[in-house]
Amino acid sequence: MKPAQFEYFAPTCLAQALELLEEHGDDAKVLAGGQSLMPMLNMRLARPNVVIDINRIPDLDYISPAPNGGLAIGALTRQRTVEKSDLVKERIPVLAAAVPSIGHFQIRNRGTMGGSISHADPAAELPAICLALDGELVLSSASNQRVLKAEDFFLAPLTTAIGPGELLTEIRLPARSQEWKWGFQEVCRRQGDFAMVGAVSLLQMDGGGVCQSACITMFGVGGTPLRIGRAEEALLGNRISDGALQDVSRIVSEELDPDSDIHASAAYRKEVGGVITRRALEAAINSVNGDDRA
């Protein structure tokens, strides 16, 4: 399996990359970590005329503290860097917990934050995390820069709101640390595989154990990561009892309308979606470290 021919550019600064993107438009694909694009090139499922390799652009690889207590992560930051970052563990522990589920460490050595989020695989973890955190995506073009909220960014399978000539350059994530409880759960065929169904839950509880804020997103159950607003509403203002968890589970199953594929049917995803959400919430409530893998 060898790639078809393409023209190759390796810009050494962001401006150059953006010019190239503007010039080549739909003819071009951006090569970041390569863990998603290279298999497609090798299998000739993708045959771009132009490949723009952005790995040589300096200053796109950073994890910086943001004034609001969160983080600004450069798009070219390797997933492995995020995995090992003390800053991430401290400020956004749910992200630190989710990243090890992405493939295997060799993949994370090359795979980037921006690459995974731009690729927008419906079964990927990072888009769902981004959505759960109400993250913001910074899109740069030769003439402009704009900031999109995560909820406006993921449009369809493998399709985002990145426009012609635009490149994702930064991911902004607010802090969700000690005052938040978090849970991250997924069901995979094997560890490291894409999830068949996954859920992220973030809960802010007050001193009396009443839920003040809730964020539930899911991956693997639709064309994009989904936020289940009805389930969140059911939790707000309540203590989270077993009954409440069953309700949430049922609501999630009702809300989901997934597709079937060879790994799981729509019926499975619909029902197990409810189960996995319940588990993510249980994990959030019960443990100090909310991470567990199905």
Partner: protein, 786 residues
Amino acid sequence: MFQSDEDISRPEASRMVRGRGRFLDDIKLPGMCSAAFVRSLHAHANITRIHVEEALKIPGAIAVMTPEEVLPYVEPVRPAAPGSSDFARPYDRYPVPPGKVVFVGEPILAVAAETPHIAEDMVDAITIDYEPIEAVTDVDQSLAPGAPTIHQGMADNIVFFREFGGGDADTAFQQADLVLEKIFNFPRQTAVPLEGRGVIASYDRGQDHLTVWTSTRAPHQSRSVFATVMRLPEYGVRVIGPDTGGEFGIKGTGYPEAIILSFLSKKINRPVKWVEDRMENLLACAHAHEQRVEVSVAAKDDGTVLGIRSKVLVDQGAHCLGPTSAGLEPMTTGQSIVGPYRIENYHCEAYGVLTNKCPGGPYRGVGTVQGVFVIERIMDMIAQALNMDPAEVRDRNFIQPHELPYATVAGRLYDSGDYPGSLEKLMQLSEYQDLRLAQQRARANGEHLGIGISCFVEHTSTGSQDYHKRGVYGLPAFDSATIQVDPRGNVTAAVSAQSTGQNHESVFANLVARELGVPYETVKIIEGDTDATPFGSGTGVSRSAVSTGGAIRLAAQDIKQKVLELARFFLENEEGELNIAGGEVFVEADPSRRVSFARVAASAYDASREVSLPASIERGLRVTRSFDPPHQVFGNGAHLAVVRVTPETGVVKLEKYFVVEDCGTIMDHVVVEGQVVGAVAMGIGNALLEELRYDEGGQLLTGSLMDYLVPTSLDIPEIQTLHTESPSPFTEGGVKGVGEAGTVGAYTAVANAVADALLPLGVELTEPPVGPERVWSMIKTAQGNQ
């Protein structure tokens, strides 16, 4: 003194850890170019036109090889011909489509280019006009009245049919207290060796000679196929098998790509290399295991099985890969269903049915995995119906050691083994009673812990007698060894087997060293090159320890006899008993009188200054012997798996695994352990992960390793093993094969464990629990039925 197998250095390992293996794709020849294949996009279609002009314009393109250029010059292979198999229906298989294609991925034409990239560019630039025909994609469609016939000259799509058995099944069913009728389904799977197929074909037009390097387990059989198909004498073909990165059954013979490439090499007068990529491997190499088995079982209320009726339907794909493959899975499954049990009434109808999918071929555990699944699930179902422990039901039915050799009603002869003893050892190894107690506690806690057992026999090393009994002729079932001692006492053993990961280089060298009494370091094994090795069947059917090992033992005995005879010239014409140890020939009665093996060897070549042999003594020290296993010999095993199932997600976690294994006399403990553990891992994958799926049009949906899943390190629990030996009375040294037993045991032990875990939910498991979706669905179905 021979080396302990823990201590021997293994030359094959030494070069592999340095990255100095020489696999097919590592070989570079002067003038070599790259090939790729244009493959069918349709499951069943007439080819009306092929357009190659654009491809030939690409810079770096060299040539194409179309079906019209090959067809006039080839003999078809008759994979299921009378005379090759009495029960198979004949059809002609050509290496290129004779006007129509019969499966998606079928190779239609080959291209040659300066690089593999350009070869693929050429493939992209070639277009083919097809007229699609209705395709049949499962056994029922294929057998339906009015179904399109896949191969010309056949009346229908049944490529193999045999009815066999013995005893009186009707009476058995009349006498039964319990009758079970079940249908078992098995998913389609494939071997996925880490290295795919590869071929370098080099045709020398001056010599009219073809050399083919190919990743294969059977170089001599491959050579025969080339010679037959291409109408060359055997001496006109040389096959060289390099280091091979695993094969598990599928790198045998019968692949059309190699033939097409040989013609291509001849056309362009250059060596041509093709390395299969993973997508081609999954799409078009060899598929296996897809079957439906319908059984009726008659039992008494004490758990004794009185009789079985079975119907085995194998989805054979569009072609059979070789003379045995039409009947390979149908017969192996049909004969395995009786297991290690005393079942005296049996009737089996075994079918091989063609469909428009990738051709069927062998994958470790061929047919036995399904047969064992059937009978072991039946044993558990009987236990469930009669409220007995599954181990106890098996004990009721085992053939006892003193009854062996035992002729089964399914047509096999079990040579030796202690089946109840293996289960007993398994009970102890696994602390079975404690496991059942743990299960009770878990169940009280609402957890779904399951314990699964499989007891089985595994046929190994089929010889010609057994092939004839099956109605298969014309298939070499012997292996050979040529042992030569050179003038300085070093020893080579050239064998017909080919290692594809079985460590022949060290195992057989150690065997030669032990048999001759010489140091291990002085022995070299030669494999893989038909010019340098004697004719034989090759590797497969877990045969090498028996058949190649047998040939080595016989040849070594002959060499030893001659060496002792020559040694007498060095020992004052000593007439007493002589022996060899540590590289020295010595007088048994007075070991101080000795002469080195090397000094004796020199005399055979007139290279000795001490002794001149009389002219009457044949010069040289070289013997070729063959061994044809007089019977298949049967290893046996007992496996136990412990699983935890989460019903709400269908996820299965394998927690513990225990193996009791009996492969007769063990030649190399390290290698046997490695084969067992590796095979168990493969069986775990078969039971929980592996499935090839097609859509209704015959397009493969599981086209990459992201969709066809094989086990990683995290899928395999600790495997505890215990080895026991029941030597075979039929082989040299009492050895039996072992390569497939682990897979056979694990496929079913894991499935039985999942079934056991789900018993409280009313689930009846009749197929391997591949994937959480399947387990979840079974539970839903059971809940719906309540």
